[in-house]
């Protein structure tokens, strides 16, 4: 979310979108609570232990999972580790630059990470090999190929889709037979932006640029909330927050149906 774009073009764009909102419309004709088309192709990359190619409208990204033995954190000696990383590579957008991950990429990775971790979708105690010494480390690497807006929802879908198809490569490391990674839930992050007093799901790139605030809500199959992040400067009221929570729950349960087809 860039809140600092103050060029004339940005202003014209803002006015245009604002006028549409007043008429209850969005530039691409969607309803305020409507997602763009979603496709999820799992097992896209066979060198990965799990993978998913996601498109969400023009946004396209590839999630690859690598599972390796490694040391546990000192304070959780009997638990595996999940490390989520996102690469906003310059191939994906004229705005991205090469280099170590910046603020925006770090925030996305940490929000996706918390959504998965806090849902307890992955039972980390099942990833312990030898307590205090060796556990499975799950690297979730998100490779953005085309930024068409709302990277975070696409990343969230891709991460859980890739995890659902992940194999623990025990044989490769002489640690027994390969087993599927046990996944207990499908947590999904849904982003809502506030613009012109309206709440809109799944912002396109243009909408994202002009939105003054957005709220990301991760929810689970039972409707519970497992993560939340407000970004952007504009404040929200408690009522607005609760409305967004409801929108996110409804949208997530719709998207979750896609996963039944996977």
């Amino acid at each position: 979310m860039s809140s600092g774009d103050n060029t004339v073009m940005a202003e014209v764009q803002r006015d245009h979108l604002f006028n549409l909102v007043l008429k209850g419309e969005r530039a691409d004709g969607r309803a305020f609570d409507e997602f763009r088309e979603i496709t999820i192709e799992t097992r896209a990359i066979d060198t990965a232990d799990g993978s998913a190619m996601v498109t969400l409208g023009d946004t396209r990204l590839l999630v690859g999972i690598k599972v390796q033995p490694g040391e546990p954190f000192p304070d959780t000696p009997d638990k595996g580790v999940i490390i989520v990383n996102i690469e906003l590579i310059p191939l994906a957008s004229p705005d991205y630059e090469a280099g170590p991950p910046r603020e925006g990429a770090i925030e996305i990775a940490r929000v996706v990470d918390r959504g998965i971790r806090e849902s307890e979708s992955i039972d980390l105690t099942k990833l312990c090999i030898t307590e205090g010494e060796k556990v499975w480390i799950i690297f979730v690497d998100i490779h953005v190929l085309n930024n068409g807006g709302n990277i975070i929802d696409a990343a969230s879908m891709g991460a859980i889709a890739a995890l659902l198809t992940t194999t623990i490569p025990a044989a490769r490391h002489d640690l027994g037979e390969d087993t599927p990674l046990p996944v207990r839930d499908i947590p999904l992050a849904v982003t809502t932006i506030e613009f012109g007093g309206e709440m809109m799901l799944d912002p396109s790139l243009d909408e994202e640029k002009i939105a003054s605030t957005s709220l990301i809500v991760a929810t689970n199959t039972d409707g519970s909330i497992s993560g939340m992040q407000k970004t952007g400067a504009e404040p929200l009221t408690i009522d607005q927050v609760m409305r967004v929570v409801g929108m996110a729950q409804t949208a997530a349960s719709e998207i979750r149906k896609k996963f039944m087809e996977v």
């Binding site: 809140s3 103050n6 770090i106 909330i225 992040q229 407000k230 404040p235 408690i238 929570v245």
Partner: protein, 246 residues
């Protein structure tokens, strides 16, 4: 790290004797530092944080300047010795994220338009941590901004709410944060508009709503303490223009 306690709430009292809707003790010291344009030292339970504000001042490099307003910048940092395990100096992914959300908690309230091309820098140093450092840091930074004379729509007040033993409680201490079920740091303006909201853990919608309402009362209490500290320091001067705060 300590063991997980069997219960967090016994006979309506929490591990440190507080009730469910009670904040830890807060101590505020305004202007402890003289190099900064404004500063505030704040103790919140066992947390100790120092906040300083510099600016409005020239922003380098130039291409980062905004022609139509000040750029608010924030650096949240934990001293290496502020927790049990030594932290390696320098930014971590955690501190980068927290710096960002704190910055955005203030971008709305600061009248940035008055100071084009400049930077307003907020520095928060956590000297001793015990859960709730980001909210403690926001409360200190809010006062440091006022101390620096930066014009604002009002103060920002923050506290966390969470869930332990299945109950919604105010202001998690370290054990509750580490082993509890959910943690929700929140920052608000005096008129209860939310400028920071994060959530970690798992809650139902109803629990979450209860948590938001509890946070509101917590932030109001904090706001009163902040206001008192400013009145004590700046007296009538502050009371006079206090209108900008409400």
């Amino acid at each position: 790290m300590s063991e997980k306690p069997e219960h967090f709430i016994i006979d309506g009292k929490r591990l440190d004797g507080r009730s469910r809707d009670e904040l830890r003790p807060i101590k505020i010291e305004l202007s402890p530092l003289d190099r900064a344009d404004g500063s505030c030292y704040l103790e919140w339970g066992r947390n100790k944080v120092m906040a300083a504000v510099y600016g409005p001042r020239e922003l380098h490099p130039r291409h980062r300047q905004n022609m139509t307003g000040a750029v608010v910048q924030c650096r949240y940092n934990m001293a290496s010795f502020s927790v049990d395990e030594r932290i390696r100096p320098g930014p971590s992914r955690r501190s980068v994220e927290i710096s960002k959300v704190i910055r955005q908690a203030f971008e709305h309230v600061v009248f940035t338009k008055f100071f084009p091309k400049t930077a307003i820098d907020i520095y928060i140093e956590v000297l001793r941590a015990d859960a709730g450092t980001r909210t403690a840091g926001i409360n200190a930074a809010s006062l440091a901004l006022a101390d620096a004379g930066i014009p604002m729509r009002g103060l920002v007040s923050a506290c966390a709410v969470g869930k332990v033993d299945g109950e919604i409680v105010l202001d998690l201490m370290k054990e509750e944060d580490n082993f509890g079920e959910a943690d929700v740091p929140i920052a608000m303006t005096a008129d209860n508009r939310i400028t920071l909201l994060q959530m970690d853990g798992r809650m139902t919608t109803e629990e979450f709503y209860t948590a938001l309402e509890l946070a509101k009362t917590g932030c109001t209490t904090v706001y009163e303490l902040q206001r008192q500290a400013l009145i004590e320091k700046y007296g009538d001067e502050y009371r006079a223009e206090g209108g900008s705060d409400e």
